[in-house]
């Protein structure tokens, strides 16, 4: 990328005595995973384009504790939560947006009981609100008419009943939105949740991500849209495992929107 991303940190805002409109919680995957970093950057490009005054915590951000909690380590989770809440409250953060449904769920549901009360949005909800406020225009561009299916992340869909924001954005892109056999509240997991991302699966007859990818392949999409960096990895691996790399791309909604505007 030749263009410079504008990514101010909370510390910089603080130094100027200012408050950002929203804090972008990047998350571990968004910060470190090569595939997820592209999603992070795509989202930042949209934020920059829409003149959203946002900040990141940068090196002050730490894992929300989600994988520790789902793995059963409540103590480590609460240590992470307490540390993060201290930082967030120290900066008097009110509103947060994140591109990771796991961070979203944890901060939305499990932080309030530990003293962290914020308005948190998944990036698809946030983009939808920008759209509704007229701050962002979305046009189909290169994706117009493309056959796209959306994979519901468990912690966004079933976990928090957010099904429509990502779909509304896809509709705005003028794509041909097709639903998989199991979708929305009955969407099949990609296989990464519950800390499974970090371990091998138990013995079985198939990998969950391959199973889910097969369900996607059944509806013959050109693109599988995701809204979670972990789902993205799992489905990308699934597409590779089924030798469909040349036919099917796995892309985050933020990437679709950014690419549609040639951002």
């Amino acid at each position: 990328m030749s263009e410079q991303l504008i990514v101010p940190t909370m510390a910089e805002f603080m130094a100027q005595g200012k408050h950002p409109e929203v804090l972008f919680w990047v998350g571990c995957a968004g910060s470190f995973d090569d595939r997820a970093k592209k999603i992070t950057k795509a989202f930042v490009r949209i934020l920059n384009k829409s003149n959203v005054e946002f900040a990141v915590l940068g090196t002050e951000e730490s894992c929300t504790g989600d994988p520790a909690k789902r793995a059963g380590n409540e103590f480590l989770f609460q240590m992470q939560a307490a540390t993060n809440i201290e930082v967030l409250n120290g900066y008097e953060i009110k509103k947060i947006v994140t591109a990771c449904p796991h961070c979203f769920n944890t901060i939305k549901n499990e932080y309030p009981g530990l003293g962290g009360n914020y308005q948190i949005m998944h990036h698809t909800q946030f983009l939808k609100s920008l759209l509704d406020e007229g701050r962002l225009t979305v046009e189909g561009g290169q994706f117009k008419g493309k056959r796209i299916t959306f994979h519901d992340p468990c912690y966004l869909g079933r976990g928090n009943d957010v099904y429509e924001a990502p779909r509304d954005l896809l509709r705005k892109l003028d794509v041909e939105l097709v639903e998989m056999k199991s979708c929305k509240s009955r969407g099949l997991c990609c296989g990464a949740g519950g800390a499974q991302m970090f371990k091998d699966a138990e013995p079985g007859n198939k990998e969950i991500n391959v199973k889910r990818t097969e369900e996607a392949i059944d509806v013959k999409p050109e693109i599988v849209a995701a809204g979670c960096p972990f789902c993205n990895t799992m489905l990308t691996d699934g597409v590779k495992a089924t030798n469909k790399e040349s036919e099917i791309a796995v892309m985050d909604i933020a990437e679709l929107i950014a690419n549609a505007q040639d951002l």
Binding site: N109, E110, I208
Partner: protein, 435 residues
């Protein structure tokens, strides 16, 4: 006048209901072996859930065929049981069809009962075919052998017999047939008995009447031993079911206290341990046995009717892993029953039997296969939460035994040291900006 039938009826009624009450007491005792949990929140939402999910069957119909048939059996059973009221009055008072004097309305009611009885009969036969001939996969999973498999069929047989007895009872009731008021279905069955003498027909009618009511009492007592308990427990279970977002897992209050103390700079690290207030601090973190679970989870176990919708939606199960959310519930109930019997045999005190829910019933392999995707919770037509049990047992494995799989221990060490599940330096967290 001969009062023997009335007396026999009263005895049957008292014995039938008495035994049932005794088992209900045991049931409540067993459920109360669970830990306390606050369910006083969202009262109006809870009533709504019960009305929609249990009474309104809203989740059953998500699968239209099974849902539709189930609604027929459910409505049929509830409505036909109004008839039981009449039977009880007749039985005790020695009257015959006490309400028949109310005229045309009686015919409408009995007619409706008869139609429903046929619909229930047919639905139950379709259920039986789905289970035994079509062999729908979820009814033939590895946990569905022996008792669970037989139990399911016994219930169907009992329901078929009860419906048949009801219709035969009406068909052989000569006075009722002569009234021609409400015998919509039974009038077509009556000719089957026309060759018999009036006395024989009367005996058949009396036998069907007695077998019908005794059958209902027996069925009532069968519930406690069967998955069929759901017909009663679905109501409290949907009331006490989770009202928070499915993604929200409870925070452990004891851990919160400890973390607060660790993070508080004013706490004297050398101070004596504060006095433990009552039983505020649990004996252990997480659950290794049924008594460690909360009572709603134990109620869940008794409510499960082993339909297997959870298992058929479980990503781990459909890809051949050992985990089956239904089995988690069945194991929990089996172990709870075992603990209950242990308490009965030892004068009300549980004597350590060297067994527990973990390992003796639920293996670690099952627990670690869960993706916490909530598909099982979503699928359950009566708001059972198998995932919460899996999570409590993971808590035990990790916090009491440090027995997480090695890769997860690595992940957690990374979070502890670097603030990320991978071994990257926290100071590099913003490097993506310039890459």
């Amino acid at each position: 006048m001969n009062y023997i039938p009335n007396i026999l009826f009263a005895i049957a009624l008292i014995v039938g209901i008495g035994f049932f009450a005794k088992n209900v007491k045991k049931l409540i005792r067993n459920i109360k072996l669970g830990q306390d949990v606050d369910v006083s929140d969202n009262t109006s939402q809870r009533w709504k859930n019960m009305a929609m999910i249990a009474l309104g069957q809203s989740k059953m119909v998500k699968r239209p065929i099974a849902g539709f048939l189930h609604v027929i059996v459910y409505v049929g059973f509830i409505i036909i049981n109004i008839e039981v009221l009449a039977i009880i009055i007749d039985g005790l008072a020695g009257t015959h069809r006490i309400f028949s004097s109310i005229g045309p309305l009686y015919g409408v009611l009995i007619g409706a009962f008869e139609v429903l009885a046929v619909l229930v009969f047919v639905s139950v036969i379709i259920f039986w075919i789905r289970r035994n001939i079509i062999k729908i996969k979820r009814f033939w999973a590895s946990e569905m052998t022996s008792w669970p498999k037989n139990d399911a069929n016994y219930i169907l047989y009992i329901e078929m017999v009860l419906m048949a007895l009801f219709l035969i009872m009406n068909a052989t009731d000569l006075k009722f047939q002569a009234m021609e008021n409400g015998n919509i279905i039974s009038q077509y069955l009556a000719p089957m008995f026309s060759g018999l003498s009036e006395g024989t027909i009367h005996i058949i009618e009396r036998s069907a009447w007695w077998l019908h009511i005794l059958g209902i009492l027996a069925f009532l007592n069968y519930l406690y031993f069967s998955k069929h308990l759901h017909i009663l427990l679905a109501f409290p279970n949907t009331y006490y079911g989770k009202t928070k977002p499915k993604g929200q897992f409870p925070n452990n209050a004891t851990v919160t206290k400890e973390v607060k103390m660790m993070m508080d700079p004013n706490v004297d690290p050398f101070a004596a341990q504060p006095e433990v207030e009552g039983d505020a601090i649990p004996a252990k973190f997480g659950a290794s046995d049924v008594q460690d679970l909360n009572w709603v989870q134990l109620l869940n176990a008794y409510t499960c009717t082993e339909c297997g919708r959870c298992t058929s939606e479980c990503p781990a199960n459909i890809t051949g892993k050992k985990l089956s959310p239904r089995k988690i519930m069945m194991d929990t109930r089996d172990r709870l029953e075992e603990v209950g019997k242990n308490i009965d045999a030892n004068n009300g005190v549980f004597k350590d039997d060297g067994k527990q829910l973990l390992d003796d019933y639920i293996t670690r392999e099952e627990l670690w296969a869960c993706t916490t995707c909530n598909a099982c919770v979503e699928a359950c037509p009566v708001s059972i939460d198998p995932m919460s049990i899996i999570m409590e047992m993971r808590n035990y494995l990790v916090m009491e035994q440090s027995a997480a799989p090695m890769e997860l221990n690595n992940m957690m060490t990374n979070i502890e040291n670097n603030g990320a599940p991978w071994p990257y330096n926290q100071m590099d967290r913003l490097n993506w900006k310039n890459e």
